[in-house]
């Protein structure tokens, strides 16, 4: 066991765990951040995605001791009580079916739009390709990304609706 410092969604934590413990279990079971999901434990599906240093990272195959930099989870995406435009677009397009994968879809899309605010259809498909959805909500995920990109490109970005208190 060793003490590891983590910064997640702007808060600092110290956890005492085996260094190789996948970050996913720490987030879910110790920090109470359960939006990242266990889908495969192999880094194949994307359900466990978090953002670290601007990159979409599969937390199920990321040793906690290897985390250098602030972690953002889906819970940390809203700011000042407002949903992120991606989350709002997800509601407007009624994207999820079961919704289990949508943590990975939204955060992977966030990282893409941060780097490339105006992705082409082909770029969206390619970037999102390894983030799986068994309900097959892909068409709506892609539509919501385009909607959010448009919102983000507006001169005065229209913020999302207030998060339910």
């Amino acid at each position: 066991m060793s003490q590891i410092q983590l910064t997640v969604n702007g808060r600092q934590y110290t956890v005492d765990v085996e260094p190789a413990t996948p970050l996913l279990y720490i987030l879910r079971n110790d920090l109470g951040l359960q939006s990242p999901k266990f889908g495969c434990g192999l880094g194949q599906c994307g359900a466990c995605t978090v953002i670290i240093n601007g990159a979409a990272v599969r937390s199920c195959v990321t040793a906690t001791s290897s985390v250098k930099g602030e972690v953002t989870t889906l819970e940390g995406l809203a700011s000042n009580g407002r949903l992120h435009p991606l989350q709002q677009a997800w509601i407007d397009e009624q994207v999820p079916q079961c919704g289990f994968c949508q943590n990975g879809q939204i955060l992977t899309a966030k990282v893409m739009l941060d780097k490339n605010p105006r992705p082409t259809d082909a770029q969206i498909r390619e970037t999102m390709n390894t983030t799986l959805c068994r309900c097959m909500s892909y068409m709506r995920v892609q539509a919501a990304i385009k909607r959010a990109a448009k919102t983000l490109a507006e001169p005065s970005p229209a913020a999302g609706k207030a998060v339910v208190p």
């Binding site: 066991m1 085996e18 413990t21 996948p22 279990y25 879910r28 079971n29 951040l33 359960q34 939006s35 999901k37 266990f38 889908g39 495969c40 434990g41 192999l42 194949q44 599906c45 359900a47 989870t73 889906l74 819970e75 995406l77 809203a78 949903l83 989350q87 997800w90 509601i91 009624q94 994207v95 999820p96 079916q97 079961c98 919704g99 289990f100 994968c101 949508q102 943590n103 939204i106 969206i124 498909r125 390619e126 999102m128 390709n129 390894t130 983030t131 799986l132 959805c133 068994r134 309900c135 097959m136 909500s137 892909y138 068409m139 709506r140 995920v141 892609q142 998060v163 339910v164 208190p165």
Partner: protein
């Protein structure tokens, strides 16, 4: 009021709660997940055994309006229904229908679903029965509640009911609008105390009539689904998210091959794992328990076990499966349905066609492994689960553990899509057994390789079809023989066939017979033989090739064969594939009670118009380029719901890669409750059909499943979706003056024709008929090469 009234304690509490304050603090949207279930978890978290002491968990009495509807002081209503909604919007649809019948604004209502101690037993979900069957008792109860409230208002306002009008939960005297009273004022904090009649939950009714379609106001609109906000802001608490005080983590250790016998466990191999608690085993069932989740994962991998192989191979390899099935002896004799005189018709045929179609085992491959959390506090058992049939799970767990049913409850939580996997759920019995043995709450979770290898499988099919064409290309005789590999099909939450029971030695004296399926079309073929039989693999117990219901259990398989064959017949008759089908439908002169023939024609016409179908025989002249394009059509019904699909595909002649460029799905399920939710459900179902057409197949050697993750058992991905998909919601009732048809089932029907539509499009593009799915690149390339394309 007491629990013994048959009204759940939580509903009693709700009657006494100041709803307005509660809604303000909880937030309307979180209510359906937060108020009852969420409070229960929080309570368990704070008080542990005290919350468990709330049992025994008697069945809510479906004869009482109070079990279904609670009206609050602030004139809002909560509906309680015995269904589950894995994200297709059925819960929102129930609210729309019940709001309409009760005459209350949709956004003043909330809905609670599927937890066995607080909602009446409507089975849960499955078989696309939500709207078709289970919305009716909800509607009748809501209509009866409205009638009772009007009676109460009549007394309160001192005028006959006929002189009252009601809108949005406010009753008003027609002649004097200043005289009004709200539902909340009439009944909040009180019980209806009205007993409904009906032998079972599906037939339950009061005296009131339900509204006709034109009277429905919210039904037919598309309010947004109420489950979505919590799914995108990360606040939803899923079944996988349940945390209880003192909870420990379990992982299974599966046999390395099917039908293996456990000969040894070396517990010392895991004693050095931090947090290790115990190895649990009985018979061939083995699991490890640790304090933390990652510790249990490690211990399960590290535990040394020894196993003895079975004396003979439990199954053939996946490559040899169809040879095996062809030569196997059926478990019961074929008893086909015969219409007309097929023998005579075949003997006078100008041309006889014969083909054999192969559909492998396909996995449910739920997006995450089976999971459940079980709490054994106070000698009772609470299971938190995403089981779609929570009521059956409750009975199954109680029987498996030998507990009285009223000591067991299942709390429903959302879970990863499983398409029927959770009807034959495994983790609950495992978690509950371990929890009881240990005396601590246990969270069980299957790993990816475990789930993909050992989940229930959709049965493999081998289908032989023959057809006779006359000299003018009419299909005058037809012989369809389906053979499924489906013996010992696993049913819903059966305590004696759930995998842990099998590993512990349970053997049913009469395994489930399984089933094959006939085509589902309305073609008028005068001489027709249809039949099916079932064959068994050598091993049927403790095998990963156990079959269960996957979304329209046999439909995609039978329709792949039937609708590929009709296409082959059209080609042999040098007819356009769509016109050939229309001609077969128009050859009929009668229809059934739900106008399925007329509606079949309507969906085909709608799909053809949207696609821009040009009539010509298939295949088209084979192109010269690297990419060959073609289009294909297929159609089927499931129950009363009729679906036609058209696919345009691109086939790469050098790689064999098939891509669907465009899809059209025309879908008629009668009355549409929520068009947007339906359109999305149909779109997802269509793409699931595409995934099964292109990728999904269980692979195995003679002792184990070898397709165990998303690479070896692939699924559709973002880059695979078509450039365009048209979902057409058709109302094909041939009589425009008749009120709309009732709602039929939606969801499963939309993936039924897709396998054949893709195969037919590949044939149109390449001239090569591939009679085996999935159309993986290597298989397509081999077929193209063999044909010299």
């Amino acid at each position: 009021m007491s629990v013994s009234d048959g009204i759940p304690k939580q509903i009693e509490d709700a009657l006494l709660t100041n709803r307005r304050d509660f809604l303000k603090s909880a937030g309307m949207l979180a209510v359906s997940f937060g108020v009852f279930g969420g409070t229960r978890i929080a309570a368990a978290g704070q008080r542990g055994a005290t919350a468990q002491g709330a049992g025994p968990y008697q069945d809510p009495d479906f004869h009482q309006i109070d079990s279904w509807i609670v009206i609050h002081e602030d004139n809002t209503a909560t509906f309680f229904v015995g269904k589950t909604d894995p994200g297709q919007g059925t819960g929102t649809g129930f609210r729309q229908l019940m709001s309409d019948e009760l005459d209350i604004a949709f956004d003043r209502t909330t809905l609670i679903m599927g937890s066995t101690d607080i909602t009446v037993d409507q089975v849960g979900s499955g078989g696309s029965t939500a709207m078709e069957r289970d919305s009716w008792p909800m509607r009748r109860v809501a209509a009866e509640a409205r009638r009772v409230l009007l009676d109460m208002a009549s007394v309160g306002l001192g005028v006959p009911v006929t002189q009252l009008t009601v809108a949005d939960a406010v009753v008003t005297v027609k002649a004097d609008a200043s005289k009004r009273i709200t539902y909340g004022e009439l009944i909040a904090g009180k019980k209806f105390n009205v007993t409904l009649t009906g032998e079972n939950v599906s037939s339950i009714t009061g005296q009131a009539r339900t509204k006709s379609v034109p009277e429905l106001k919210y039904t037919g609109q598309s309010p947004q689904r109420d489950d979505i906000p919590a799914k995108v802001d990360g606040s939803l608490k899923w079944a996988v998210d349940v945390k209880l005080p003192g909870m420990v983590h379990a992982r299974n250790v599966k046999p390395p091959f099917a039908c293996a016998t456990l000969t040894g466990i070396d517990e010392s191999s895991v004693r050095n794992v931090p947090g290790f608690i115990k190895v649990m085993h009985k018979g061939n069932y083995v699991a490890v328990v640790c304090e933390r989740e990652e510790q249990a994962v490690r211990a399960a991998r590290q535990l040394k076990t020894t196993w003895e192989k079975p004396a003979s191979a439990p199954f053939p390899t996946s490559e040899n499966l169809f040879d095996y099935m062809r030569n196997a002896t059926p478990t019961s004799p074929l008893r086909p349905n015969v219409a007309g005189d097929p023998v005579a018709a075949f003997s006078r045929a100008a041309k006889v066609l014969e083909a054999e179609y192969q559909i492998p085992f396909q996995g449910h491959t739920a997006f995450a492994g089976a999971h459940a959390t079980a709490d054994p506090s106070n000698g009772q058992m609470t299971v938190y689960s995403n089981d779609m049939k929570t009521y059956g799970m409750r009975r199954g767990v109680a029987t498996f553990l030998g507990m009285a049913q009223d000591r067991v409850r299942v709390v429903y939580r959302q879970g990863p899509q499983g398409f029927g996997r959770t009807a034959a759920e495994d983790a609950a019995c495992e978690a509950a057994w371990i929890a009881r043995e240990l005396g601590r709450p246990v969270r069980m979770q299957w790993m990816r390789d475990e789930e993909t290898a050992w989940d229930t499988k959709s049965p493999a099919f081998l289908v032989k079809v023959q057809g006779a064409l006359d000299a003018t290309g009419n299909l005058i005789a037809y012989d369809y023989h389906a053979r499924s590999c489906d013996y010992n099909h696993i049913g819903y939450n059966e305590p004696d066939t759930v995998l842990i029971a099998q590993f512990m030695g349970s053997r049913r004296s009469t395994p489930s017979a399984g089933s094959s399926a006939a085509p589902s079309d309305m073609y008028a073929i005068p001489n027709r033989t249809t039949g099916g039989d079932v064959v068994s693999l050598p091993a049927i117990w403790e095998t990963p090739l156990r079959t269960g219901n996957l979304r329209d259990p046999n439909g995609p398989q039978s329709t792949f064969a039937a609708e590929s064959f009709i296409d082959e017949a059209a080609t042999a008759a040098k007819s356009d594939a769509l016109e050939f089908r229309v001609k077969l439908l128009n050859a009929g002169t009668t229809d059934d009670g739900v106008f399925r023939r007329a509606r079949s024609l309507a969906v085909l016409k709608a799909a053809a118009n949207a696609f821009g179908w040009d009539a010509r025989p298939s295949p088209k002249p084979i192109g010269k380029g690297d990419i060959l394009t073609g289009r294909g059509v297929a159609y089927a019904f499931r129950g009363q719901t009729v679906v036609a699909q058209i696919a345009e595909v691109e086939v790469n002649r050098h790689s064999g890669q098939v891509r669907a460029k465009r899809l059209v799905c025309a879908h008629d399920c009668g009355l549409i409750v929520n068009p947007q939710a339906l359109r999305h459900t149909v779109e997802c179902g269509t793409l699931h059909g595409l995934s099964r057409a292109l990728y999904e197949e269980v692979r195995f050697d003679t002792e184990k499943v070898t397709s165990v993750d998303w690479f070896s058992h692939p699924t559709l991905r973002h880059m695979d979706v078509p450039d365009k998909i048209d979902i057409l919601l058709v109302n094909g009732d041939p009589n425009p003056s008749r009120p709309d048809l009732p709602p039929y089932g939606a969801g499963e029907a939309s993936l039924k024709p897709m396998l054949a539509a893709i195969g037919n499009a590949i044939h149109d593009a390449t001239g090569v008929r591939i009679r085996r799915v999935p159309f993986r690149a290597d298989r397509v390339l081999a077929a193209l090469k063999a044909a010299g394309v």
